[in-house]
């Protein structure tokens, strides 16, 4: 699971942070693809889950490149009607972790061991002549249950010319905005790739930044021209787990369809690859939580830029990912003349940048910074149960440093340190209750053993 960026009112101090982690998304690479293609991890990944250019092309083409014996069906006109591996490309992922906080959360024990933090089963590979699926089912210790995780089912085909131009086009049916994206500079598959579920996450984030993951269904169409220009557009609709049809007990329900868009350009030369892009979405949400799913909605307009650079040689690998997400919120449903929120309109900006180096894909590390700033809203940003504080704000700033060791390509040991210089708008008394917890008390050391097989 990754550090979470969720928009929510505070429930209680510790509960909220744990809930945030629980609802977070996760990012994996899967040996299913290696099984299917017969290629080692390094073909598609610098070090997993970061994709190489080849990995992006493989994904855009619908995960269909295969090397397994197929059960085939054809029509009288030799149209392919079925292409299914005789053995399904399945794989497992296990994370076992330990988290040490600088200062334990109130009434909790420090040194949280999660065994497992997460176990996932994947089907990842070809499902049809031009279709593939990445479907993840996860047991997470903090939820204590098995639930759907990231899912991306896609169909794609390619047009080529004699002169070597190519146009990949396809559709993706997925459950998390940006999980279908090709680049690791967008939220779903962005750094940190693993994060503690026992440490406080980032308390406020934009909707597109993981808030809706696994609770929406999206249908998007995309094109990938000459393996350089990537454009995508589509819609998302609420598809929350455990409640159908949705009613007023649900929270954060989309009204109608939420448009999503993406444009990126990548250029490869020598050992380098550089990409830059923009992405965004507009979400109109009914607050729910007891309010009927009709009438005014809260509108969140998210617009983001992202950048990625990769240097890939045999011995030395370097990459850089950065994104900035700007959100304009118009809280027409929540505001209620200052009862539900202090402001009718709020802004939120999240910026992240991380640099990664690996030696021989075996020893490496990542370091970078994250920052969220935005309009202070006394009601939304003061922890629940406390008098709204006019100084409350979503501002949160910090850095992450991580060391990694991969004894084998599919096994990763990581030691990650996360430090906060500001949390929920404050350096000190971040719980707004006078108990004196400081931002740095939320600093955490996280050790994770990550097995994918």
């Amino acid at each position: 699971m990754k550090i979470t960026l969720m928009r929510t009112k505070w429930l209680t101090g510790a509960l909220a942070t744990l809930a945030l982690a629980l609802l977070s998304t996760s990012a994996q690479a899967v040996p299913s693809f290696a099984r299917q293609t017969g290629m080692a991890c390094e073909a598609c990944h610098t070090v997993w889950p970061e994709l190489t250019h080849f990995g992006r092309v493989f994904k855009a083409n619908g995960y269909i490149l295969d090397n397994l014996k197929q059960v085939r069906g054809v029509s009288q006109r030799k149209d392919e009607l079925l292409s299914l591996a005789t053995l399904p490309p399945l794989s497992m992922m296990v994370q076992i972790s330990d988290t040490q906080l600088a200062k334990p959360l109130p009434d909790t024990q420090n040194g949280s061991v999660a065994f497992p933090q997460q176990i996932s089963l994947f089907y990842a590979g070809k499902i049809a002549p031009h279709g593939g699926a990445f479907i993840q089912l996860t047991y997470a210790h903090d939820s204590g249950g098995i639930q759907i995780d990231n899912a991306d089912i896609r169909f794609a085909d390619i047009l080529t010319t004699e002169t070597g131009h190519s146009l990949v086009y396809g559709v993706s049916l997925n459950n998390n905005p940006t999980v279908q994206d090709l680049f690791n500079s967008t939220p779903a598959f962005g750094f940190p790739y693993a994060g503690s579920s026992a440490a406080p996450g980032i308390p406020f984030g934009a909707q597109i930044d993981g808030a809706l993951g696994q609770n929406v269904a999206g249908l998007t169409g995309y094109v990938y021209l000459n393996e350089s220009l990537y454009a995508e557009a589509g819609f998302y609709r609420s598809a929350q787990q455990r409640s159908l049809p949705l009613d007023s007990s649900a929270a954060g329900v989309l009204s109608g369809l939420a448009p999503y868009w993406r444009l990126a350009y990548e250029h490869s030369w020598d050992r380098h690859n550089l990409s830059a892009g923009v992405y965004g979405a507009t979400f109109k949400l009914f607050p729910g939580n007891g309010s009927a799913l009709t009438g005014p909605t809260d509108t969140y307009k998210d617009v983001a830029e992202d950048l990625q650079y990769q240097f890939t040689a045999d011995n030395h690998l370097f990459s850089l990912q950065a994104t900035r997400i700007s959100e304009n919120a118009s809280l027409d449903a929540t505001y209620q003349d200052g009862v539900g929120s202090s402001n009718l309109k709020n802004k939120l900006t999240t910026t992240r940048a991380f640099a990664t180096y690996y030696y021989k894909r075996r020893f490496g590390g990542t370091a970078g910074v994250f920052q969220t700033t935005g309009t202070g809203d006394a009601i939304l940003h003061t922890p629940a149960g406390l008098e709204p504080d006019p100084t409350a704000s979503p501002d949160t700033t910090g850095w992450i440093a991580e060391l990694n060791y991969l004894p084998w390509m599919n096994t990763k040991f990581s030691l990650q340190y996360t430090a906060f210089s500001k949390y929920n708008g404050r350096t000190n008394d971040i719980q707004y209750d006078g108990t004196g917890r400081s931002a740095s008390d939320n600093n955490s050391l996280y050790l994770v053993a990550w097995f994918a097989f």
Binding site: G38, M39, A40, H53, I158, S166, E227, S268, D270, R271
Partner: protein, 208 residues
Amino acid sequence: MKTIIRSLLACACLSTALAAYGEDPAPEALALAKRVAITTCGTCHGVQGVSAQPKFPNLAGQSENYLAAQLKAFRSQTRGDADALAYMWGMAAPLDDDTIQALSALYASKPGAAGSRVTDPALVARGQSLYLEGKLDQGVPACAACHGPDGHGIADFPRLAGQHAQYLLKQLDSFQTNMRNVAVMHGVASGLKGSDAEAVAAYLESLP
């Protein structure tokens, strides 16, 4: 001297064996190969067989029989250098003989890579001397004897002109360690090390 004669004899045998390949591919196979070349091979080797990344070799202008032999060696998992294992064993596994032949013919018909710009003339000059004359005191025959004075290959011996230096150096290393098990080249690579290897690779990369 014996080493050189053995090497050249082995070259001749290899040449004869490879010459068994080389029939014109069927139009259907060629059409499939054109599609595979762009949609699959092209991702690493470039859509026209000239790769943007030096880790992956240029294929354009390469000897047809050499390419076919390599693809079959990947398919049968008898070429065992690290990148062959990681990439090509999987990629070549589903290719049938007709597709291999058509792919090889397709790449052989394309114009080879233009030579790179020379950044170190002294290094390239030394490389040229080693390539054309060898280093007989260390048992390194002239590369040009098999690969041609212009580096375009002779008969079934591969084209080296315009090839990425990084790729060439890695192959020399693989020959030396027998990760890529070719007796002729094992002998050559064992005598061609360090700055000598770098010089030859730089020279070849600069050749059009």
